[in-house]
């Protein structure tokens, strides 16, 4: 496998983890957030700082990133989730805009617009795993472990309660569900995973700056989840593969000038989203998997 494809596979695995994390919010909790890149960014900065000042350990960066994003999301979720539906989307948009400014201005922590550079190559328990194959293997192992954890949670009572809130908040309340707690747990869980993905991202890139954590990134993650299939386990993975591979695949197609690639890509995204919403609103994996959720 060429270095380019390995790099793409690493990024794909990290973004799969990221879209899986947003799927916990959107797919299972019905909580639409356009600020997910913020928690990805917080995790990335935390992971980068850990790598720069402690050790570039993959697990340490993922755990540190997850913890930082989880704590921040807990602090923000409790007041933010008091508002419903579209108001939460607007609140998350506001958070995304504020966070982008903070990422740019808090130079002591984020390195400002220039970002944090010189992040050392990744290791695992002191062993060098900077070889792309090794790093990819560790990322895949983390992704599979998180998928198994999310799968188990969503098939259990927590997942059922969360989906009940998504389907009918008032009915869930009428059956004793404490909706703010459930929603907060979903947000914190999703943001911990996003933060862990951020920690891995920092080590993969060996450089992080604000451009990776903007509104565009949040929208891209959301598109991955929606196109792949909300509320399914494989949907976010399919969405990620499609949206990450598409630009790469387009660059190999003859007849498209490199300067027009961006426009062609946007056109294809738009068309794909429109067609999906008309013919398969549950996303690519939506219909096939949807029935399996919520059972014993």
């Amino acid at each position: 496998m060429s270095a380019y494809l390995l790099n793409l596979a690493e990024l794909g695995t990290i973004f799969a983890l990221l879209s899986l994390s947003l799927n916990v919010l959107i797919g299972y909790g019905g909580i639409f957030s356009v600020a997910h890149a913020v928690f990805f960014g917080v995790g990335a900065y935390a992971g980068a700082q850990i790598a720069l000042h402690l050790a570039p350990d993959v697990l340490l960066a993922a755990l540190g990133g997850g913890l930082a994003a989880g704590v921040l999301s807990f602090a923000l979720a409790l007041p933010a989730l008091r508002v419903r539906g579209e108001y939460f989307v607007v609140a998350s948009l506001g958070l995304q805009m504020v966070a982008t400014t903070v990422f740019t201005e808090a130079q002591g922590i984020t390195g400002g617009y220039g970002g944090l550079v010189g992040i050392p190559p990744p290791s695992l328990f002191g062993l060098d795993i900077s070889s792309p194959r090794l790093f990819l293997s560790v990322c895949i192992a983390i992704l599979l472990a998180v998928m198994a954890g999310v799968h188990a949670l969503m098939r259990g009572s927590f997942g059922r309660s969360l989906m009940a809130v998504r389907d009918s908040e008032s009915a869930a309340e009428a059956f004793g569900k404490i909706v703010p707690i459930l929603k907060t747990l979903a947000v914190v869980l999703g943001c911990i995973i996003a933060g862990a993905a951020g920690g891995l991202f920092a080590l993969q890139m060996s450089f992080v700056n604000v451009e990776s954590f903007t509104l565009d990134q949040s929208v891209l993650i959301m598109a991955m989840v929606i196109i792949g299939g909300v509320g399914t386990l494989l949907g976010p993975l399919l969405g990620t593969a499609l949206l990450l591979l598409l630009p790469a695949a387009l660059s190999f197609l003859p007849g498209i000038p490199p300067t027009e690639l961006g426009a062609v890509q946007q056109g294809i995204y738009g068309l794909a989203m429109t067609l999906l919403m008309i013919f398969r609103p549950g996303g690519i994996a939506g219909r096939a998997e949807g029935r399996r959720w919520g059972g014993r």
Partner: protein, 248 residues
């Protein structure tokens, strides 16, 4: 018979509109009470006030004689007050079994307490509720894919499985065919006989007269009359209000 749930002077205004005005209501164990009245009488709002889905301006709600000051739907559910909704509000994307199971899983955390035994008990309660409502064959079907009558019975199965002692049912039999209606009435009668206090909002007066032990007649948020079904339903003044021929 002493009431399990009592309401005293419950009132709610929405802006300038008095939705419920100082209503008193008693729900005794083992009796079926029907709330009857024209559209906009405040019947559903009364359910919302009792369960805390809407905050009352004034008034008290007492459960077994104990006043419940800060009511929320979740707290009332935990205290054994179960309700259904006019528009059912099933968990559409979930299976029939998951709908019922979710209704009886009390905690919001990542797991339920009590281990395997408690889980087995919940599964058993789910199976019994589905059997009683005739939905056993549809355990794995999605709620969204059910026929109308099945959806109605699923709404009831969720309540039944909770073991709640007070049921507030909002138009539970509307739109049912005669056979389903009869099955539904038998089910309600059986549980009332076991001591459940049932309060239902119902527009179909045939169902009300066949099922209810007492009727509370509401109009424009006020309680106009209360008594045995035949006495209330034969009152020409109430009939005129009910059918919109005149206001109270």
């Amino acid at each position: 018979m002493s009431p399990i749930l009592s309401v005293r002077g419950l009132a709610k205004h929405f802006g300038g509109v008095a939705a419920v005005q100082g209503v008193d209501l008693d729900l005794p164990a083992g009796l079926i009470t029907a709330l009857v009245g024209p559209n906009g009488a405040g019947k559903t709002t009364l359910f919302n006030l009792i369960t805390g889905a809407v905050e009352a301006d004034t008034g008290r709600v007492m459960l077994a004689g104990k006043e419940l000051a800060r009511r929320t739907p979740a707290r009332m559910a935990r205290l054994g007050v179960a309700r259904s909704f006019q528009d059912l509000r099933l968990f559409q994307s979930m299976s029939v079994q998951a709908n019922v199971l979710t209704a009886i899983e009390p905690h919001a955390w990542f797991w339920q307490p009590g281990g395997r035994r408690a889980r087995a008990r919940r599964l058993q309660a789910t199976e019994m509720a589905l059997a009683e409502t005739g939905l056993s064959a549809l355990t794995d079907a999605l709620a969204a894919e059910l026929a109308y009558a099945e959806r109605k019975f699923l709404s009831l199965a969720r309540i039944l499985a909770t073991g709640a002692q007070i049921w507030l049912l909002d138009e539970p039999a509307s739109g049912l065919d005669p056979a389903s209606r009869a099955r539904f009435s038998t089910l309600l009668r059986k549980h009332a006989a076991q001591g459940v206090a049932i309060c239902l909002v119902e527009h179909n007066l045939d169902i009300v007269s066949a099922l209810a032990d007492r009727i509370v007649f509401l109009d424009q948020g006020r309680k106009l009359a209360e008594g045995e079904p035949q006495a209330i339903l034969r009152d020409p003044a109430l009939a005129a209000i009910y059918f919109g021929e005149r206001r109270a």
